[in-house]
Symmetry: C2
Subunit: 273 residues, 2 copies
Amino acid sequence: MLTPDRISLNTATLREQWSLAECIEGCQRHGLGGIAPWRDKLQEMGATQAARAIRAAGLTVSGLCRGGWYTAEGALTQAVKDDNRRAVDEAAEIGAACLVMVVGGLAEGSRDLEAARAIVEEGLADTLAFAQELGVKVAIEPLHPMYAADRACVNTMSQALDICDRLGPGIGVACDAYHVWWDPDLKAQMLRAGPDRLLAYHICDWLVPTRDLLTDRGMMGDGVIDLPRLAGWADEAGFAGLHEVEIFSALDWWRRDPDEVLATIVARGATVC
Amino acid sequence: MLTPDRISLNTATLREQWSLAECIEGCQRHGLGGIAPWRDKLQEMGATQAARAIRAAGLTVSGLCRGGWYTAEGALTQAVKDDNRRAVDEAAEIGAACLVMVVGGLAEGSRDLEAARAIVEEGLADTLAFAQELGVKVAIEPLHPMYAADRACVNTMSQALDICDRLGPGIGVACDAYHVWWDPDLKAQMLRAGPDRLLAYHICDWLVPTRDLLTDRGMMGDGVIDLPRLAGWADEAGFAGLHEVEIFSALDWWRRDPDEVLATIVARGATVC
């Protein structure tokens, strides 16, 4: 069971309703412990001003979403590297616990997953070198295998941690229950990650049926993920960060009053997480 | 590249258009090497009559779809065991290379994946014992993780083969490209399965975007799966069976003339598989 101070709001949850400034005020009003901005909302507000407002509200920044997309231009380009370096700068400016990486899927017109994965690892190495200089942690987010083609070709905790093993310190994983709940190897991999590499923990729920591959995530408790069990594993792995709520929900939560959404998050935290 | 005699038609591909008798005639007309009936179509025709017609058409039976659903009643019941024994009987009667198992997802109202997986393994052991007496091979089909909740809680080749290791001879895997193409461990697991346990190989394609979780599979060549690479791995693993085409496609192929569908399968076999 999560008290509000253990919960962070990923701004994607209210992406259709609120600006970052409104999200910061909302988190404070509902007693949440933290926030995780998306870059578009952060840039809209300005990173410096956002950092100030977040600090003033007493919020922790559980992550910045998102860097990555290394395969977007087919090969790893300077433009992609530069954009990721800007993301690192932004993460540093707002004091984010990590920069969350959605690494990108197959390059346009390609069926070569191995090639995509090689591009991703090369890109991560570049971003990591820069992030180390600024003291920013890089968190690879394994995405559900249904996004392997078009969003991220890193699809399991094991695969992400193998990359971390190769790239060395400063890089870890963002573990999102929605993406990994099905994995029979999940507990072992969370323990393998441990406190130094389990950099973020995201929650929402898997709805049955799921009506859309991208924007039909559920509020905690409305689906089938055993969130208390996963939270127990996160504890066991030594994760001491916030549980970040990230719900893409075009059909439901994006249509509701934002204060109702935040109140529901707090209530569900107390009962089903 | 697949010649038609290396291709089998899974009747789900024409499930909205043709009976099993029509599928058998169609396969013969288009020179396909085999067929894989679903149980509903088989029962409609009658297993004895179907077996005779399939033999007369010179077709191999690459599999019978499907046994499993062990979690359907919450616990493993005698009714579920009995239904799977009937499936084994049917597979024996038509000389199927294997009985394909879609094992079932979470029990109704449950979030306990571990419990579901325990039920499944108990059920598979029961079916296997009976199948061994009749000389029928049991093939666990790992389903894509997006079906973990509602169709099958066995979701990777590795997980399926771990079960096979525990249950002993007579059981293997049905490897469906659609379900496993994303898996970074796929090649290693196909080789681990080897000729004795790689009992079936199913093909279709992953469309981008995928508009429906269940019924938007693509014709080979229309999506992003590197089918020649996967076929090479199947060869390397010693798989000598047919490539079984199984396309659930409510929006496209289920609406087309069945002879056009079969002609397309043959053409794509020659060019993109």
